[in-house]
């Protein structure tokens, strides 16, 4: 008995056809957003790069594009980003890795199931709150130890950024470590090794591309962070690598200029897009590297 309901069937066909188009458009949205970012950055920063020579970008000592006698040394901003990121990584990578090893190889399952989501909460805290904490709680604390520390410092901002990034390293790192098969561990245990030995000699190398992906993504996150450094590290671009000083990062500069008046097409307007373009290239590189590493890890496991 074949079903004989041609109308409802044709209706179904029509709905199916419509939905495919609706969904296909949704699928394209992400591509459109990417395109939007790239096109906007390129078109709005083009005038800036057209009139500022590459030579000035790397040789000028200061970054003051809005001044009467503008300086275009973007190195000042890059130094700020580099130092804060470096401090953050000095905290996040060792701490995050140790926590990942502990959670993956030592902690009981129940403990891990409770702790992991709690750790992820740490990365869900709004970054203004972290900024507040860095400026008003951590800095005074650090000043007790080192009284010469200025109100705004890259150290303070970097330390807090590191805490914020720890969950990225721990979560991804622990996932990678746990997917190393038990079989490999058993080989080492059977020879009489202890848990830490097995963790360092078998699991860590086995999970390496996954861990590397985690580190690279942590770097990307640190480079792109805005509010913590804008609040606690200062808004004055300064060419220095001393974390005990204040300086502006690429992101903080964009915030600082945005806080003022920004007529469309003015030099201030163009300069933030130029900074944004630089930022985009940096994080793009790290993101792609992280993606490739993560792919490689999945294929190997």
């Amino acid at each position: 008995m074949a079903p004989s309901r041609p109308f409802s069937h044709r209706l179904n066909q029509a709905v199916e056809g419509l939905m495919v188009w609706v969904l296909r458009f949704g699928g394209w949205i992400s591509v459109l957003v990417s395109l939007g970012i790239v096109v906007t950055l390129v078109t709005e920063s083009w005038p800036f790069f057209a009139q500022v020579s590459f030579h000035r970008l790397i040789s000028d000592n200061m970054w003051t594009p809005l001044f009467a006698d503008p300086q275009y040394g973007i190195g000042a901003l890059l130094a700020g980003t580099l130092v804060t990121t470096g401090v953050a990584l000095l905290v996040a990578i060792p701490l995050g890795t140790v926590l990942a090893i502990y959670l993956s190889e030592f902690a009981p399952t129940r403990f891990r199931e409770v702790v992991k989501p709690l750790l992820e909460l740490l990365s869900a805290v709004p970054t203004v709150v972290y900024g507040y904490f860095a400026l008003l709680t951590l800095t005074p604390l650090l000043q007790k130890i080192y009284p010469d520390l200025p109100q705004f410092s890259m150290l303070s901002a970097g330390l807090i950024m590191g805490i914020m990034i720890v969950p990225y390293v721990t979560s991804l790192g622990e996932d990678s470590m746990r997917s190393v098969p038990m079989l490999l561990r058993e080989g080492a245990f059977a020879l009489g090794d202890g848990k830490l030995g097995v963790a360092l000699r078998v699991v860590f190398p086995g999970a390496f591309s996954g861990l590397a992906a985690a580190y690279v993504l942590a770097i990307s996150r640190a480079v792109g962070e805005t509010m913590i450094v804008a609040i606690a590290a200062g808004l004055q671009p300064r060419m220095t690598i001393n974390p005990l000083e204040s300086a502006a990062t690429v992101t903080a500069f964009i915030v600082q200029v945005s806080l003022g008046d920004l007529p469309h097409g003015s030099i201030g307007y163009q300069s933030i897009f130029a900074a944004g373009a630089v930022l985009f290239l940096m994080t793009l590189g790290f993101n792609l590297a992280g993606h490739v590493l993560r792919r490689r890890f999945h294929r190997a496991s």
Partner: protein, 316 residues
Amino acid sequence: MSCDGGFIVLPEHFFQRQKKQAHQRRAIDRWFQRIGLLLTLMTLGILAILLLNLAGNGLMRIDWQFLTSFPSRRAGEAGVLSAWVGTLLLMMVTAGVAIPFGVAAGIYLEEYAPKNNWTDFVEINIANLAGVPSILYGLMALGLFVYQFRFGQSVLSGGLALACLVLPIVIVATRESLRTIPANIREAAFALGATRWQAVWHHLLPYSTGGIATGVILAMSRAIGESAPLITIGALTFIAFLPPAPVLSHPPFLSFEWLFSPFTALPIQMFNWVSRPGEDFQPNAAAAGLILMLITLSMNGAAILLRKRAQRNIQW
């Protein structure tokens, strides 16, 4: 070494060395266990310290007056009214855009799109978008929405910027939930004569609502806490008025004026107060921060519970 009736008897000092090695290994393990536990608790403790710090400085500042006043030059009179209303309106736009488009994109990529180089590229693209710094979304919104589309420095531009920011979260959450449904179930639906859309609508979406809801909550929680993109668009930090209301008491009962109004938001207000020199506004900043923390923590907590419950309910 001596041979004794076919067995090799190892000398005593060999055993002693093994024993010492074993001891050492166990001791190292015990130490690492202690250190690991300590560091874990310390790291989690930071979360607690943050909350307590904010509560200590700001809890007493939160009262009805605080929640219903506009910002002011006098710290004692300043409040978060325009801020939380702004956040609410922003979230309406963000949710209204990010959820349908994100879920649709997730469904398309997981159920409809053929697996070829193009879809690989889209996947890489989404992974990259998830890692793009939030301030760049603000820059895009500034060039595209504020000026190119002429939406101005408005709730609409801000909401769209945040929607683009959290879109990858929704897409990935949708895809992952759909992925956990075994091929078996899809085939059963198809074998009964369902079209692909019918299989999605009747089966796949209902079975994955837990995972999708979790992703949506996480996305909105992220959006509420973001300030960098909004500053870039030009969200004002001192707004002493509210955007026009979306609902009217006279026909046509719905208004869209609020979409084009200037605005502020909770994290922006907090940023403004933190940036002021002097101690006057610190309690205000702490209070705003406390409210933000409570909102984001409870949303994330709800997402975690949802995820655990979804995992328990349907076992494949």
